[in-house]
Symmetry: C2
Subunit: 253 residues, 2 copies
């Protein structure tokens, strides 16, 4: 059974300050747990039904196991549907030492919505974008909604938090081209796009901030269709990221 | 002031069966209200702060006005941030009589998530997709979360609910090509794509159903990058829709 103290501890992890203090984040559901179990993440605790534990006994890592039932899991779940498994996973340290010069990197300038961040990580995974760099004020990637929206891609994509001005400044010294999406940018389909570089995406409400705009080498834009017809003011940030990443990769195939 | 009865009536509209019975849906927030006020939608009631009403007095339609304060609006809001305006808008009747032969149409086979549906309508708006046809079991487009995610695009994109098998069957009689996205489809970048046609997108969990699959002329797929690297199982449905629509339109520019 799951103790009252344990319930309290897990629910505390739904808040960023507690996650940072304790150094753990929550992963819920079979599919996501599968991905994490296969990854390099370090699992501290598995809370699961007897059934899930029996099905997965041969792949369980060396960690604390809390056996409970679906009612027990419901008490710690952030989802509306009852799950069979929940993991407490160690938050990895920022590891930004590896070279970026050969990579395509996404830089997110103050992204606010955890669902958007998670979806962008899933997109990065699909398109082989090795790293997602979030500005320091961006939403926490270990927010349960963000983790959920990655659908497991968080196990494969490196996410770091950094001062974007400094990060991009350094990258430019290494001749990495810097792209940014702007409503008044140039039609992406007419632009030269490279295999490596940094693609900056702005915040949901305010786009790319003026300090970061100064660092952009190439301002790009996804054209609406047909050109002159009244349409939405913009695309959602994860939608725009998807189209931009797809176009960068299309050029390489 | 806003009466208790009115609060009850508005909150009832958060449920599909009440929306269908009463024939109204909720629109919240300045930006979305602006779009609806400019559209052909018929507004029944405006609940707004004195300030919003003063700012917009010259564009108010002939409808019931309920003046209140932000505390009053909070009692009926479905959003976490307090809004200055909420509209009760008449649900339009399905109008599917116009010809589809020249259009690009999206068909959604049992989409479940209101946020995804709203985002797809915003994508359709951006790419000039004239109509979104949802299967009968799909989530209600007038769900407040769906309306919100459209960011106003609902004012420009026609959304209908139909038996998809019949709808697509009829379209095929008119020689409209039918595309569908499949994990095992052909690389979209190597396929011939037309200016018109139906693009079928499957449900979040199960993809395109076997009955609908039989009607697809061209099975397409968004390739991951690099080709052989382990990656996510799939892309989110709204992400995939965005990339597919962008690619159809890129061919036309």
């Amino acid at each position: 059974m799951i103790s009252k103290n344990r319930i309290k501890q897990i629910n505390a992890l739904k808040q960023k300050k507690n996650r940072q203090e304790i150094g753990l984040f929550i992963v819920e559901g079979k599919k996501l747990a599968d991905e994490i179990l296969k990854s390099n993440f370090c699992i501290q605790t598995i809370v699961a039904t007897t059934e899930w534990l029996a099905e997965n006994f041969n792949i369980l890592p060396d960690c604390e196991i809390v056996e409970t039932n679906e009612a027990g899991l419901k008490k710690v779940s952030g989802l509306t549907t009852a799950q069979k498994v929940l993991l407490l996973v160690e938050i990895p340290k920022n590891h930004s030492s590896e070279s970026d010069s050969e990579k395509l990197i996404l830089a997110l300038d103050n992204i606010n919505d955890p669902g958007n961040l998670g979806t962008i990580i899933r997109i990065a995974d699909w398109f082989g974008v090795g790293k997602v760099v979030c500005s320091l004020c961006s939403v926490d990637v270990f927010n349960p909604k963000a983790v959920q929206a990655t659908m497991g891609a968080i196990a494969r994509v490196g996410v770091i938090y950094a001062d974007l001005t400094k990060y991009i400044g350094n990258a430019k010294k290494n001749n990495l081209p810097v792209y940014g999406t702007f409503l008044k940018g140039k039609n992406i389909y007419n632009e030269r796009l490279t295999r490596n570089g940094i693609i900056v995406m702005g915040s949901e409400a305010r786009g790319i901030s003026p300090e970061i705009e100064k660092l952009i080498d190439q301002k790009i834009h996804i054209p609406s269709f047909p050109a002159a017809q009244p349409t939405s003011e913009s695309l959602n940030i994860s939608t725009a990221t998807a189209i931009v990443c797809a176009e960068f990769r299309r050029r390489c195939i």
